[in-house]
């Protein structure tokens, strides 16, 4: 006898029973104890066939190899920079992974990147102790200049990007802003001040209504209603920079 206790898109808390019986399989953020499947996180229930998973509503960012994130430089060490990624663990950006040009031994590293700067970087390694190695040498990775940086709940990042980047390219095309979304929930926006503000409002709205359906249509309406006059609207880009989770 197997039956599902929780329903699709229910909000559950850790330890809440989701299903009983061996016919169902525990997916992401769930675990099986004896005959029952329980939730491991606060989140929404997702049932696909026999697999039950939880999409978390909150929680810290867990660093993953290959993630593009935005971090803040907190310290300069002998061989590189220490970056605050918004996790509990510290990340290092080595000189060899930061720039393609030759850096002399006695060179002042703060001339390349100084404390307080934001960098768009990619995680190349996470050790078993959760120490993070970063790189800035790939296309689409750079030191941020100008614009503004905001922080959202990292669990909502997939919704801000949207399916195949639909949400982010919608916001980009309606506001004309340059937007880079880090998987750790830090977002960099650059455009005219008015458009930057509209973009920030739009992103906060997505964050707030992340679990609702038909969000892209709602956002299109919101952006059309609040459009900044005089903005040159570029045709929507066919592909987005951000990656889906």
């Amino acid at each position: 006898m197997s039956n599902i206790i929780a329903h699709e898109r229910d909000i559950v808390i850790p330890g809440e029973a989701l299903a009983e019986g061996m016919d169902f399989l525990p997916g992401e953020n769930t675990y099986r104890e004896h005959e029952k499947i329980y939730s491991k996180a606060l989140g929404l229930v997702g049932i696909s066939g026999r697999v039950i998973k939880i999409t978390p509503l909150s929680g810290p960012y867990i660093p993953k190899i290959g993630d593009k994130i935005i971090g803040k430089v907190t310290d300069i060490a002998m061989i590189g920079w220490r970056i605050d990624t918004g996790t509990a663990y510290s990340a290092m950006l080595n000189v060899k992974d930061a720039t393609t040009r030759f850096v002399r031994k006695e060179e002042d590293l703060s001339r390349i990147i100084s404390i307080g700067d934001y960098v768009v970087v990619k995680i190349i390694n996470v050790t078993s102790q959760n120490l993070i190695d970063l790189t800035m040498k790939e296309p689409g990775l750079f030191k941020v200049s100008g614009g503004r940086v905001i922080k959202i709940n990292n669990q909502k990042v997939p919704r801000v990007i949207g399916k195949q980047g639909s949400m982010i390219s919608l916001i980009k095309s309606k506001t004309g802003c340059e937007i880079t979304v880090g998987q750790n929930g830090v977002i960099w926006v650059k455009g005219t001040p008015e458009n930057e503000m509209l973009t920030v409002r739009a992103i906060k709205l997505v964050e707030e209504k992340a679990h609702q359906e038909g969000l892209t249509e709602k956002m299109e309406k919101f952006l059309n209603e609040n459009a900044v006059p005089g903005t040159v609207i570029s045709p929507a880009e066919s592909h987005a920079e951000g990656e889906m989770n």
Partner: protein, 266 residues
């Protein structure tokens, strides 16, 4: 913490701000709640934008100081609760908490807002001492102005507790309805200088990007009672007079909001 220092200072020189406000605009809403604590003689909660602070007034009978035998006294304490910002830790008050308490204290003390002579019961023996406690519930910037406003609102709402005529014990559960002898109503407006422009009511990000700031405490007649300068950058004399003019003008605005909020709650 996110800090858009460069963008803030660039926008400030163009007369713009990160959140789209004018340079001399306060955030919405400015809200005041009175008598939020039943254990305090007077209390108030002030909200400016997302910044929320609470103030409580306690009164006790103590022996006056030897140099002022016919006067009561006031003291102000501020606590930056860890729940109000990720930057605050529990423990003894730091520089920021001490400065916050002192700016609020001097605004009230130096304007002679409370008639301390009237607080005296028996010269050299007994006088009322008023303690104002400030706690931050959420720090989204501009604690100086919010705390001064909360302290004033709490003082205005405070009532003396009943004193038993025979045992001389204070019954804190019974309020007499007698208000504190308030002579002036001091408010603090802090003007920040960012990249040559002056702003009021900074957000938390703007507080991390300023060059200099000047807190101006003034009463309802526009008489300045206290000034406090902060930040690394120096200020010219002309700049100070400009900042004081802005502060006096914005104090009028805050006073109007305060009075209409208090009237609404009467």
């Amino acid at each position: 913490m996110i800090l858009n220092k460069e963008t803030i200072s660039q926008l400030a020189s163009q007369g713009k701000r990160l959140d789209g406000r004018g340079l001399l605009d306060y955030r919405d809403p400015i809200k005041i709640d009175l008598n939020i604590s039943w254990t305090a003689e007077g209390s108030a909660k002030v909200q400016i934008g997302n910044t929320v602070v609470m103030a409580g007034v306690k009164m006790a009978i103590e022996k006056p100081y030897n140099d002022t035998p016919d006067e009561g006294g006031i003291s102000v304490n501020a606590e930056l609760l860890p729940l109000s910002s990720p930057n605050y830790e529990p423990g003894p008050p730091g520089i920021k908490a001490v400065e916050l308490a002192r700016v609020t204290d001097r605004g009230i003390r130096e304007s002679k807002a409370i008639d301390v002579k009237k607080l005296c019961i028996t010269p050299g023996e007994k006088a009322w001492f008023v303690t104002i406690d400030l706690i931050t519930i959420n720090d989204a910037g501009n604690l100086f102005d919010a705390c001064a406003m909360a302290a004033l609102a709490a003082l205005k709402s405070a009532q003396f507790p009943k004193v038993d005529p025979t045992t001389k014990a204070i019954d804190y559960h019974t309020k007499t309805g007698e208000k504190l002898p308030l002579l002036k109503e001091p408010l603090v407006v802090t003007v920040y200088k960012i990249n040559g422009s002056f702003i009021v009511d900074p957000s938390q990000e703007e507080e991390g990007a300023y060059d200099a700031r000047l807190s101006v405490a003034s009463d309802e007649r526009g008489i300045i009672s206290a000034l406090q300068k902060g930040g690394d950058a120096p200020l010219f004399i002309e700049e100070i007079s400009q900042m004081v003019d802005i502060a006096l003008d914005k104090a009028k605005f805050l006073r109007k909001v305060l009075n209409s909020e208090l009237k609404m709650r009467d």
